[in-house]
């Protein structure tokens, strides 16, 4: 009816990317509770209906779902989260149909340039907006994280041939060398590779002590085991991975090799912010999830909730929630602080983008008597000083 706002929420709940969507059920539950009384916007109280959909990790299905929500359900705003495979097709569908779309959790460079935007040229996107970490944040985080312990500053990098990998290689690697690190890059590898002897041989020969990679979990597991087998891991002091090692299961499946792997988190339960939509704090969110699911908290909890925060803040701010133009405008000028930190579209590096924090973290053995095998601790906070640092970085081979 006309007094109802319809919001689409698309994420990978099942399929190979299911790890990202695993916690969405809980987050959406919280959101719906908070919205039960309706949403105040433009001096009127609206019923809110969140239509959540699962892409089954299939990009083409993601596009289909977006179309369906737009054409048949008549949504007023699209929210989409986690990985290019989920976000890009949905964003494209929204751009095509002229429906405002907000997304998070993928490097914004892959979102912006990956969808065909050209550097320098004005933004080709009218309807789609993205917030969250980008290469710049990774640079800050890595530099501060890697200076925490003494190394020879030789970094062996394994960047795959995909949008993240290419963006990182193009922008991060040069910056790192400027920051005084020697980059040893054997070149892009294809995901699905199961033998890395060539790269490992090179790293050993160069005597790298820091390792950095943006692989999907299976690739990393294959590489890291082989690295151990070939005696590479013994010389590695910092193993810094992104995209894999986000969730406990990735690391647990590595066994002992997983302990002390460093990672970077786009959210951590130690984040000091409250959800603008639900009012819960980081620890409340994490504990609540562990209580209700019996599983260990993951950084996705905060990310998904922050998307809902930002989305509904935009709706509140819009002059007319039923006008797509107005909602899009509200997003483009959105300034708020979600459970995952600051979102500000007025001062982004490019239009349609608001960069967000990503903090240095490490997977360590959990203290005796704790529910789970591993503990996920924050080791630095360069991109958001408000986040408390809870532990000291331990050398991987130490």
């Amino acid at each position: 009816a006309d007094d109802t706002i319809k919001v689409g929420f698309i994420s990978p709940r099942t399929g190979p990317l299911g790890g990202f969507g695993e916690t969405d059920g809980y987050v959406l539950e919280l959101a719906r509770k908070a919205l039960a009384a309706g949403l105040q916007a433009g001096g009127k109280t609206w019923k809110v209906e969140i239509l959540d959909q699962d892409t089954q990790s299939d990009p083409s299905r993601a596009g289909q779902l977006a179309k369906d929500l737009i054409n048949n359900k008549g949504i007023d705003l699209m929210l989409v989260v986690s990985t290019p495979e989920t976000i890009n097709p949905v964003a494209d569908a929204c751009e095509a149909a002229g429906v405002p779309c907000l997304s998070t959790v993928m490097p914004w460079e892959a979102w912006y340039f990956g969808r065909g935007a050209k550097p320098g040229a004005p933004s080709p996107f009218k309807w789609t907006y993205h917030f969250g970490f980008g290469v710049g944040e990774f640079l800050k985080t890595y530099v501060s994280q890697w200076n925490l312990i003494e190394t020879n500053k030789k970094v062996g990098v394994m960047y795959p041939n995909d949008a993240d990998g290419n963006a990182i290689r193009a922008h991060l690697a040069p910056a790192l060398s400027k920051a005084g690190f020697t980059i040893v890059d054997p070149g892009a590898y294809e995901t699905g590779t199961t033998d890395f002897s060539a790269q490992i041989a090179l790293f050993k020969q160069e005597g790298v002590e820091i390792f950095n990679s943006f692989p999907i979990p299976p690739d990393f597991a294959a590489f890291w085991r082989q690295a151990a087998q070939q005696g590479l891991t013994q010389q590695i002091k910092i193993c810094q991975v992104a995209k894999t090692g986000l969730f406990p299961s990735d690391i647990e499946s590595l066994g002992d090799l997983g302990v002390n792997i460093s990672s970077a988190a786009y959210w951590h339960k130690a984040f000091p912010y409250k959800s603008t939509l639900t009012g819960v704090s980081g620890t409340e969110l994490a504990d609540g999830y562990e209580a209700s699911s019996g599983k260990q908290w993951t950084q996705q909890l905060g990310a998904s909730l922050s998307l809902l925060d930002a989305g509904f803040d935009a709706l509140k701010a819009s002059t007319d929630v039923k006008s797509k133009e107005a909602v899009a405008k509200a997003i483009s000028t959105l300034k708020t602080t979600t459970i995952a930190g600051k979102v500000d579209f007025t001062s982004g590096p490019v239009a349609n983008v608001s960069p967000g924090p990503v903090i240095g973290t490490q997977w360590v053995k959990a203290p005796e008597g704790s529910k789970f095998a591993l503990d996920y601790v924050a080791t630095e906070n360069a991109t958001d000083p408000n986040v408390p640092v809870s532990a000291k970085l331990i050398p991987y081979n130490g």
């Binding site: 990009p59 048949n72 494209d92 990956g114 949008a163 990998g165």
Partner: protein, 339 residues
């Protein structure tokens, strides 16, 4: 029907088949007007349906008529989409790019056929799959594609969504009609008879003058072109090109499913199969994993209990043949008895 000396005659059309053609023509005419009265959602779904029909018909042509079972047809689907992106990026109008892409893919399939068609049975099926994987990896080397992340056909953004939707719908309808028409005429031609002969016994076909490789190539290239068109249309509808998606063996899985359920080797079967697949997807697509499990189970059951598919069953039960490609000899009674 052709009348020969001593009033023996050969029939190719039945009354029901004439009616069928008329009906189909009418149906297509109606469909052409659909954008005027159907909602955006329906139009998008119908577009998908047309693309499914193309895929089913093309795989059926290859496996059902040519006896060439391929697990790698996704290679043409992917190439159709890839070249569309490529040419569009080079500045071509996206829809022109789509057509050019299909033609290029068809052309590429000719040298490919020189090798692949020498393979038989399992070797061909697997060989095609490997080719698909290989091409996928090679496409990934193209910087424009951004590896597995892929990129988008943003040059479509110049059209406003309504026009864009309608154009894609009509293109798909035209493509489907044209491809089905071509295939049907082909199957009724001498080449068509030759293809069935090859499927049944290649040596015998050669020894009565059928040029086997050349005939197979005809089907191979047609299928390549048709599937490439489908790939381009799918891209136009979805905007996003992700190599993993377009080169996924899942497309071939769908083709096999549709053809198997509809009735392999039956012209009508492929169409029926596509419609069924479309309906199932529309109804159960939301149920996620169980939908896929259902698809798989259906495929298994059909292969076990209805190997000739629904249409095969209909034909057997009611002797119904709506789009006959065969020949019937009718004898004057005096000859009938004698043998």
């Amino acid at each position: 029907m052709t009348l020969l000396s001593n009033d023996i005659s050969i029939e190719r059309w039945t009354r029901s088949s004439r009616l069928m053609l008329a009906a189909m023509a009418a149906a297509i005419a109606v469909l052409a007007l659909a954008p005027a009265f159907l909602g955006a959602g329906m139009i998008d779904r119908m577009t998908a349906l047309f693309i499914y029909v193309i895929l089913a018909a093309m795989w059926n042509a290859l496996a059902g008529f040519g006896g060439l079972v391929s697990v790698g047809q996704q290679v043409f689907f992917g190439l159709g989409a890839y070249f569309t992106i490529r040419f569009a990026d080079a500045g071509l109008n996206p829809f022109v790019a789509l057509l050019v892409a299909a033609i290029v893919t068809g052309a590429l399939s000719i040298p490919l056929s020189l090798f692949m068609l020498r393979l038989k049975g399992g070797e061909f099926a697997i060989g095609m799959w490997v080719v698909a994987e290989l091409v996928h990896l090679l496409v990934n080397l193209d910087r424009l594609i951004q590896g597995e992340t892929g990129t988008s056909l943003i040059s479509l953004n110049v059209y406003d969504s309504a026009t864009r939707r309608a154009i894609i719908y009509w293109l798909s309808l035209v493509a489907m009609t044209a491809l089905l028409g071509t295939l049907f005429t082909l199957m009724r031609s001498r080449a068509g008879a030759a293809m069935q002969a090859i499927r049944d016994n290649e040596d015998a076909a050669t020894s009565v003058g059928v040029r086997v490789i050349a005939t197979k190539r005809l089907l191979f290239v047609l299928a390549a072109f048709g599937i490439a068109v489908a790939g381009g249309l799918w891209l136009a509808a979805a905007t996003t090109f992700q190599p993993k998606t377009y080169f996924s063996v899942q497309w071939t899985a769908y083709m096999i499913f549709m053809v198997l359920v509809g009735g392999i080797g039956k012209f009508e079967g492929a169409i029926l199969g596509a419609i069924l697949f479309f309906v199932i997807e529309t109804i159960f697509g939301g149920t996620g994993v169980w939908y896929l499990i259902g698809l798989g189970a259906t495929a298994v059951l059909f292969s076990l209990y209805l190997p000739h598919g629904l249409w095969g069953e209909i034909e057997r039960r009611f002797g119904l043949q709506l789009l006959p490609i065969g020949y019937r000899l009718t004898l004057p009674d005096l000859l009938k008895g004698k043998r």
